[in-house]
Amino acid sequence: MTTDMSTRVGALSLANPILTASGTFGYGLDLADLCPPERLGGIVTKGLSPQPRRGNTPPRIVETAAGMINAIGLQNIGVEAFCRDVLPELDARGVTVVVNVFGESPAAYREVMARCERERGVAAYELNVSCPNVSAGGMEFGHDPALLASLTAACRAETAKPLWVKLSPNAPDLIGTGKAAVDGGADALTLINTLRAMAIDAVQRRPVLQRGFGGLSGPAIKPIALRMVWEVHWALPSTPLVGIGGIETGRDVAEFLLAGASAVQVGTAVFRDPAAPLRILGELERFCAGEGITAVGELIGGLQWPC
């Protein structure tokens, strides 16, 4: 039996529920030899800003138990280089491209989107409002419902394409910020971004990362991500969700879909295994076949809560 693997995130149809997470798959072509992006549901680009950004001084990463902490600092090539050098080939290959956007002001977010609106090949936008690494990089938007609603509304005015907002697990009120994004015009919510974390070198008596703090990702955060996806799905049942956090296997994907996600993003797993998104897709197909599932969409929100 073959399972229909297609899914929808609001108005956006995807061939399958597996996307790559922002910051873990370059701009979509970087790992094409190891993981052809056109075979995935889609790719989410590294966060793009109006101008190129240098990022943080190293050390930027540290491995932790079943996870890693990063403080890359939103290094990117800038929207112009992406539109000129990368997007045409993604479009030619038929890749579903979600452009991850950030800026230091609503105007900067809009500038990135306006530049992309002049091109073919962008399927949707994802607003990074929760990167915990750079003080000026947008953290305030994701933590304050009113700010988030106005930012989302400003970006909404820039495009008719699907607009996703990536929620921060560090926000004091996750559901409040989710509602604010939807009120501002978001079509879907992505969750979760990394958890603010730190690692300490006890001999040096210093933080391992140059920035002190970073964002924790990987399997260590999966249970938290599942709980948050379920809570937001419960609170906002008609809002499509894209689940992310420590996905390593096809069965992990099934768990996120059951919790209410319509699609998922694979991130840190790519660092362990650049072909992980395709491997996970194969595992999900086998899981569905084994469970007698005819369409993967049957799983979405299918969690049976114990009464």
Partner: protein, 271 residues
């Protein structure tokens, strides 16, 4: 770009080289083409601990009847390398590579290279020495370690140098073997004595590479340094392993390196 591959390899040999370092040879059933300076990302164990692969410089590649043997020398410094040291022959190991660039080995007749290694920086330098010897390209070898017991593969180094009439200079920090002191001082003495090199190729701890960068810059000698940075992916997407260049840009060493000309690097590698 040549497509990178995640190779299914098996352990052929694990054996101690020194109290802290060991040789790991992996057998791949397909041809592997590699240059000295390139590296591979190895998964240390199945499961989630350790989560990330580890990057190791290649010490050599040779064909056998069964496929290709990829040789690496590892220093046990943590859980990942401890797990690799305990692998038994035949154990499967996922190996992504070869990755990154390599040293510039080409020289004209009459020219000579200086190959400089410190500690566990020896693998790419040994690989380069054996490849240069096979091509008949001239070089001198400067190999340093903290103490005599941490020098290894001396016979192979001597054999490679002998092929091209090169000098093998051994150095130890404690003077227990060879010339006492650092390899960079030994190289400086040769330069002072009038020996000329077209280029120095080096791998070792950062202070050694910085000393070499300063020496090479002061003497107008071209030099290439193989750098080691904390690395998550090895394929240019995590941006964890960035190195600062002379123009201030931060570039991933896995993709633009790990070998960099000193002239391209930030001032701290030269001054």
């Amino acid at each position: 770009m040549i497509a990178r591959r995640d190779l299914a390899a098996r352990v052929a040999i694990v054996e101690d080289l020194t109290p802290t370092c060991f040789r790991l040879e992996l057998l791949c059933c397909e041809p592997v083409a590699a240059s000295p300076g390139q590296f591979a990302m190895l998964r240390c164990a199945p499961g989630l601990d350790p989560l990330l692969r580890r990057a190791f410089s290649l010490a050599g590649v040779r064909s056998t009847g069964d496929g290709t043997i990829v040789e690496m020398h590892l220093k046990e410094v943590g859980r990942g390398t401890a797990l690799l040291r305990r692998l038994a022959p035949g154990a499967p190991v996922a190996m992504l590579g070869p990755l990154g660039n390599g040293f510039t080995l080409g020289i004209a007749p009459g020219q000579r290279l200086a190959l400089v290694a410190g500690g566990i920086g020896l693998p790419p330098v040994l690989f380069a020495a054996e490849m240069l010897a096979a091509h008949g390209s001239a070089f001198d070898l400067f190999v340093g370690a903290s103490t005599a017991g941490e020098l290894y593969e001396v016979d192979r180094l001597a054999a490679a140098a002998a092929v091209v009439g090169g000098e093998l200079v051994l150095c130890t920090d404690d003077g227990s073997r060879g010339e006492p002191g650092f390899v960079t001082a030994a190289l400086q003495r040769r330069l002072d004595a009038g020996r000329a090199y077209v280029r120095a190729l080096a791998c070792g701890p950062d202070p050694m590479l910085q000393a070499l960068g300063r020496l090479a810059t002061a003497r107008g000698l071209e030099a290439e340094l193989s750098l080691e940075e904390p690395m998550a992916c090895g394929v240019g997407v995590c941006l964890g392993c960035v190195v600062e260049l002379e123009d201030g840009r931060l570039v991933p060493s896995c993709k633009e390196g790990p070998v960099f000309p000193v002239s391209r690097l930030a001032a701290r590698w030269r001054a």
